[in-house]
Symmetry: C2
Subunit: 338 residues, 2 copies
């Protein structure tokens, strides 16, 4: 992904919320402390403490967190914040700190962001340009709706919209021409050959991928780099089921790509070599996972679960065991919380 | 719940996995260090360190954890473990420690446990009685299927099955007559007037309750004791929606009682006085929650979310703010992990 960004001459600012580790973020930058994207202020503080000096907090900031953000911004090179309303702009101006700010644009996901086609959005952008306090750095979007895609053709179409909406917005007023265009989701960043119509990309999940990304075509099954080791603690061949010691608190209850397979289960159950087993992880309670299928798995059997959504699953653990050639070569400690 | 157990002359052994705090467990025992139930060995160690000396680890134990369990058992009064297979019994005998053991019986949930009606189950119980190594302490069941109930009549029927199956099993052989009968889920423990046909009860969720328990009739809405404070960080009245800074990592993605309401959302959105607001929490991504509905909630508005499943939601946080008369009077720190 780093190589694709370099070849496309765009800034590479991976989202580190998927792994939340210093080691992972450095790996994404070939060992260096490059620009990163985070999802909480606690992450921003953790990565700043670990040596990262150019950070985008890519969730609209709650007004009460502006003091904390200002304190952090003053001790690194750049903390980019996100807004999508006049009210948030006013809160920042009232705080008085010269924050670097992105305007969030909604390219079709309809979560956060202003419409790229609304006169109100242009008015907000102009107010940001004229602001005596903040520095209007760029426009940013995230094609989260690429997760609703059914195949790579869908994702390619969404990738074009994602990039195009920023260029279109910037063209509304020639004074907006200086703004950085920042885009990126793992599905869209994975399927394009090169990045066009953007100045910066922010994929995150690609560091691990997962069962969901495999299902929509972002990666091959063998590209998934994270799994949860679990032990069979109950075996009931007469009911064709077994219980593992990984439940909702180990795996998260993310339903996975149920828009593609309504019968999708809570992760892909594999043997230790990551070969899928003929069982389905049909339900999760707090500390139990229920396997159903024809494999006979006696008590004590080890299995590896490829998670539906690696970001949510990884966040459940206080460490990663980094495996190379079947040896644990390192432990990585993630941050958590807000 | 403690009072109901006392009036029924049964041992009260609340499940502390819901809150995972020393303070909560002491509150459940009126300030004392009574018997408790835990869901992980890490919890058992945490509560033992906090002064609890009679602990049931109510998940079938993975064979590789027997050394850790023996180390813990040797430093408290009683660590009860759970098995439901010959293989687990053999692993314990091989370990050689005189573990206190419960046989898990399946009263209809079909997760873990042996069938109360199978000759194999009786053979396993007899093998446990004859074991030269372990101490066969009791039989234990959990009516997890009470969560599939639609109303209190359903729950009452399941409560009768839960208690009855233990008595029935014990009657299969007069030598089993000494075994403790341990049962309990929050729905079944909440709806019965008194506990019958059991010697010990283990409800857990009742300390907080949640939106799910309210929906199936375990409690009233005003009984729910835990909520997540969140801030509106994006407001889009033209789309009738808003974004809060509590997503899947704050609330968990538990779907809630979708067997009662297929349109159930990810929690009940309330104002600061816990009055429900006319909005639904329709989707969660990692750090965003999306509200849809008619309430206009400007950026900065505080809301409180009553979780679908308080056990999973509470586990996402590193502390509780204990509120009394609108004042934070204490912070409780839970344990986590395995």
């Amino acid at each position: 992904m780093q190589e694709k960004a370099r070849a496309s001459a765009v800034v590479f600012r991976p989202h580190v919320k998927t792994h939340k580790t210093i080691e992972g973020a450095r790996l994404q930058h070939g060992g260096n402390f490059g620009p990163i994207t985070v999802s909480t202020l606690a992450e921003a503080e953790f990565f700043a403490g670990g040596g990262f000096r150019d950070i985008t907090y890519a969730v609209p900031i709650a007004p009460e967190k502006l003091d904390r953000a200002a304190a952090l911004a003053s001790r690194i090179d750049r903390l980019n914040l996100l807004i999508d309303s006049e009210m948030a702009l006013r809160a920042m101006e009232q705080r008085g700190y010269p924050f670097e700010v992105f305007l969030k644009i909604d390219c079709g996901y309809h979560r956060a962001g202003v419409s790229p086609d609304s006169p109100d959005s242009l008015a907000l952008a102009r107010a940001m340009m004229r602001s005596p306090t903040i520095r209007f750095h760029g426009i940013l979007t995230h094609a989260g709706h690429s997760y609703h895609a059914r195949n790579t053709d869908d994702v390619r179409r969404i990738a074009a919209e994602e990039a195009g909406c920023l260029t279109r917005f910037r063209a509304l007023d020639e004074e907006l021409g200086f703004l950085v265009r920042s885009a990126g989701s793992t599905p869209t960043a994975s399927v394009v050959e090169r990045f066009t119509e953007v100045d910066e990309v922010r994929p995150g999940n690609y560091i691990f991928y997962d069962a969901f990304q495999t299902a929509i075509g972002s990666c091959r099954a063998e590209d998934v780099a994270v799994s949860v080791l679990a032990t069979v603690i109950g075996s009931y061949p007469e009911r064709r089921c077994a219980i593992i010691d990984a439940g909702a608190l180990a795996l998260s209850k993310d339903l996975g790509p149920d828009h593609i397979d309504p019968d999708v289960s809570f992760g892909i159950v594999c043997d230790l070599d990551l070969e899928p087993l003929p069982v389905r992880l049909t339900s999760l309670s707090q500390e139990h996972g229920k396997l159903e299928g024809i494999a006979h798995l006696p008590v004590g059997t080890k299995v590896r679960i490829i998670p539906n959504h690696s970001c949510l699953t990884a966040a459940m653990f206080d460490r990663y065991h980094v495996i190379e050639n079947n040896e644990c070569v390192a432990e990585w400690k993630p941050t958590r919380g807000w």
